[in-house]
Symmetry: C2
Subunit: 367 residues, 2 copies
């Protein structure tokens, strides 16, 4: 057992341990249950206002903090949620995480962050132990894994009989899951396509991450559909979400003479590579090629050529995910079978900068 007694130690006569319910109770000649009820505002029991006031005063003066462990043990609820998130360089994850953290704090939950290693990916079920061990009440899964591989595991975590581990997928959507909180990627893509199409571009390139990533998948299908509806050709290239990934794709296309007049780029890291390749290839932006980033970041405004972007509501996404998970945990969403996806759409807009212009008159289509 921990050396909690240890009365003769330093710190003089002051108690070395945290104040407990019983400390308050005995100081007031009351019973712990009474103190507990007062502190929890339990109205089902009649307690003299004067007594309640004394309890409150004593609790404050002793600096009482309820022991979260004991409370969680009794109540079967920890007040913590686990957030499985890949520690990628891309700052979108920070914004997502920040939004989730803030909302969780507002809702009175603490957040435990679990790193999702990208090299050796784990199944989300690997994190359900956190719920089983009562370390958390639910899982927020911002995993980088594609949903097909990630999906089945955590829903029925441990074979038959185990109840659902409350969980929500963030920024990933699976068919019929009803456990997802996503952004309106299709709307974002429409913003992009419309923006360049209005200027006269008729042939687009989209450089994005691996197609196993669900956001990527939804983006490219959306952009294909929307472009077809407007009679615009689209080339899609998947590459690792790194500078090299973007660089290699564009260099290859340039050498093959297949680079179109406008290009959308899925991530900030890839964008740097794309811009570098265009520079290397002597293609000037925006005169010869327009570029749009699907990640907004303040630094885009300070680049060589400031880059137009589509700004997605990432912090809102994080907050909405927390809300959805808490609803699931607390049963506020009225029962398990009524799964329902959440789409956060609102502030989503185009940030126009200098990297987009009308296509060059000389060139029709690809270069």
């Amino acid at each position: 057992m921990a050396p909690r007694g240890d009365p003769a130690a330093s710190a003089g006569a002051a108690s070395r341990r945290a104040t407990r319910l019983v400390d308050i109770a005995s100081a007031l000649g009351l019973h712990v249950s009474t103190v507990s009820r007062v502190l929890n505002g339990d109205t089902s029991m009649s307690i003299r206002p004067e007594t309640a006031a004394r309890v409150l005063a004593e609790a404050r003066s002793q600096g009482y903090r309820p022991n979260a462990l004991a409370r969680a043990l009794k109540r079967d609820r920890t007040g913590a949620i686990a957030f499985v998130i890949p520690m990628l360089r891309n700052p979108i994850w920070i914004r997502l995480q920040g939004g989730a953290l803030q909302r969780a704090a507002e809702r009175g939950y603490v957040v435990m962050i679990m790193d999702e290693p990208t090299d050796e990916p784990r199944l989300p079920a690997d994190y359900s132990y956190l719920v089983k061990e009562s370390r958390a009440d639910g899982l927020l899964l911002a995993t980088a894994l594609r949903p097909a591989a990630a999906r089945p595991a955590p829903v029925r975590a441990d074979g038959a009989g185990w109840p659902l581990v409350p969980h929500v997928y963030v920024n990933r959507r699976g068919p019929d899951s009803g456990n997802d909180v996503v952004m309106d990627e299709a709307g974002a893509m429409a913003l992009f396509v419309d923006h360049v199409a209005t200027l006269g571009h008729r042939c687009l390139l989209v450089v994005d991450g691996p197609q196993e990533v669900d956001t990527v998948h939804r983006r490219v299908t959306a952009v294909r559909r929307h472009a077809r509806a407007r009679g615009i050709a689209v080339t899609v290239r998947h590459a690792p979400a790194t500078e090299e990934g973007g660089f290699d794709v564009v260099r290859m296309l340039l050498r093959a003479g297949q680079f179109p007049t406008a290009c959308g780029v899925g991530s900030l890291n890839q964008l740097f590579g794309v811009l570098a390749a265009l520079r290397e290839g002597g293609v000037s932006v925006p005169d010869e090629a327009s570029v749009v980033s699907f990640d907004e970041d303040q630094c885009l405004g300070f680049l060589d050529v400031p880059v137009t972007s589509v700004c997605m509501p990432l912090a809102q996404l994080g907050g909405a995910a927390v809300d959805a998970l808490i609803a699931r945990i607390e049963g506020t969403d009225a029962g398990q079978p009524a799964h329902r996806d959440v789409m956060v759409g609102e502030p989503m807009f185009l940030v126009p900068r200098a990297s987009v212009a009308a296509p060059p008159a000389t060139t029709k289509g690809t270069r």
Copy 2:
């Protein structure tokens, strides 16, 4: 890994709750204490190997996971640490956080992340409630607050008598604290100064964050000292750690004709601003001005002019901080009074790119 066994049980009353020690014990006709001891490898008690094997088998087959709450309550140790970190855009925080997360996982701790709001800063003592409520065993403080304001509070959290809340400051150093884990900023500055000095620069500018930030303070004093030792002039400018911050400083200096031949920039965000201002001012890098970033990031290699940087061991810093905190929590560091700062120095190096060259022959000193 999921126990597919449990064949007959699933048909009947599938247990809706997690397996407990008593479930294993009763299934085997043993007592919970015996099961507990086997599972914890308690060698002080003699238990027949066969019995131990049966316990292990049953525990595995039932998918037993110890309830972290009950265990923590009994042992007075949660196995969790709280990480107070500002959610800044600067990717250094991600690398720091990643290193901490990984090391904590290796040491069997989970990490709770608390956002430190930058606008309305809190005292670290505001987070000590996490320890008092037994949600965490200690605090990792990567607060953005300057140490002077942040220091006194958490050490004696709640007035006299409250024992020390185990805590470690990350990347912040206070006088005589002995609770800090920092990087060798002076070494990094020496790398920078030596690099440009060797090429012939005699007058340097350093653009960094607010001087209240401890790293900034340590960097500028180090660069001043080291430059003086080499007979080199140094101008230091503090600005917000944003693109605008860097931009404004350089534009001002340029207009005043006081921009020297070489410049070090404290953060990636500021760097974008600095480069933009130089571009605007028609100063070519590196022909007319050399630029070094004190943040390494892969994107630096793909910029207009690839930027030389000093690479700091951020992940190691995070890991070392976790180690230091755990040592404090577990008392491995042999007693409270022996506080000791930890400096992580090792992999620290200069990443040479294209943004540094000899100073222009025409210009001597500032422009």
